[in-house]
């Protein structure tokens, strides 16, 4: 009789201890969430789709904007590292970006333009008015070439190495800021290592 009376309170306190542990779990989950969310504060929320990386420039056969009777293809691309810039006269951000592209031209950066879904008259007068920063512009009326590149919207810029492999994809405008922080280091590495094998680590560091 006595022994059974002692047993009951003992199991009860054990249950209480177990309950306390179970109550701690939501608290721990909550703390984990807080840490996770805190670490993400102020970080960009956009998902960047730079999937054209590490691929050769897609094959294309498109007319030259300045002389549409001439058809350009992959072999017409520069043999030195260069930029591909997708633009259109209808695209407001391209207009904002344009003066900086002119600066890059003055600094000796080779930019190939892709005139994306534009009317040729508008495109040519756009270049006449604002200057032509491109070593050449090819005409992508249907937008198929841009689609093959993985374009999400103009303007976008791709950094291509001397072998014609895409190494960097910049969504949105090119400005002094991302030029200094992202594009110039990548382009410099590609220029310095022409003809040599690029090691993955330094590439990843310079061309994120």
């Amino acid at each position: 009789m006595d022994s059974s009376n002692q047993n009951k309170p003992a199991t009860k306190t054990m249950n209480k201890k177990q309950l306390k542990v179970w109550f701690l779990i939501p608290l721990l989950v909550f703390l984990g969430l807080m840490v996770m969310l805190y670490l993400r504060l102020g970080k960009p929320t956009d998902i960047v789709t730079n999937t054209a990386l590490e691929r050769p420039v897609p094959t294309f056969e498109l007319p030259l904007l300045s002389d549409t009777t001439r058809v350009m293809s992959n072999s017409s691309l520069p043999k030195q590292p260069f930029l591909i810039n997708i633009w259109g006269s209808w695209c407001p951000t391209c207009i904002i970006e344009h003066p900086f592209l002119m600066k890059l031209k003055d600094r000796g950066v080779n930019i190939v333009g892709v005139n994306y879904k534009d009317e040729i008259g508008n495109a040519l007068s756009y270049l006449n008015e604002r200057g032509d920063p491109y070593s050449m512009s090819i005409q992508d009326l249907s937008g198929q070439f841009a689609l093959d590149l993985g374009l999400t919207g103009a303007p976008e810029t791709f950094v291509v190495d001397s072998k014609g492999v895409i190494r960097q994809h910049i969504i949105g405008e090119v400005s002094e800021e991302n030029w200094q922080s992202r594009i110039a280091p990548c382009l410099m590495l590609l220029n310095n290592k022409q003809g040599q094998e690029l090691d993955a680590k330094s590439l990843k560091e310079a061309c994120q």
């Binding site: 009789m1 022994s3 059974s4 047993n7 199991t11 956009d46 998902i47 789709t49 999937t51 054209a52 879904k117 937008g143 689609l147 093959d148 590149l149 993985g150 374009l151 999400t152 919207g153």
Partner: protein, 181 residues
Amino acid sequence: MTRINLPALLTKSIGLIIAALFSMSLFAAIDVYDFDSPQQEAQYRGLIEELRCPKCQNQNLAASDAPIAQDLKQKTYDLVKEGRSDSEIRDYMQERYGDFISYKPPVRPSTWILWFFPPLLLVVLIAGWFWRAHHRQNQAKLRTEQQTVEALTPSEQAELDRLLSPQNSAQRTENRTKDNS
């Protein structure tokens, strides 16, 4: 006589307006694409539901009017018309836009956690639940066993009988009255 039947005219015009509204809403719901077969249309609709607009982050192609979404819808339509299969079209998009393009990510080591964690969690939870239920049942069984084991021994039973006997209770009341006085 050129009398105008006003009620008839009214109903007619109202009918016309309703018909116009209907046809307009029908136009809004249907894209301008023509398909060779209902299967092709179903394939197209399925794909634009599944594929994500790369520009707008949280919309599928069907819901988005972004220029790139329109282009990709057009491309999907072209590929469907060419008679390509679902997986061919998915591959085409994925080659250009990566895993991000699809709301249905492919199964590969880097996405295993995405695919296998929820069912695993479910299995673990169900197993835990069963274990607890089993544990509780065992405890209950143990308790009843203890109770039967600790039934009264003959001497205890005698003691109990003695305590409960009318004589005893009479004695106790006597004692109590004594205490009170």
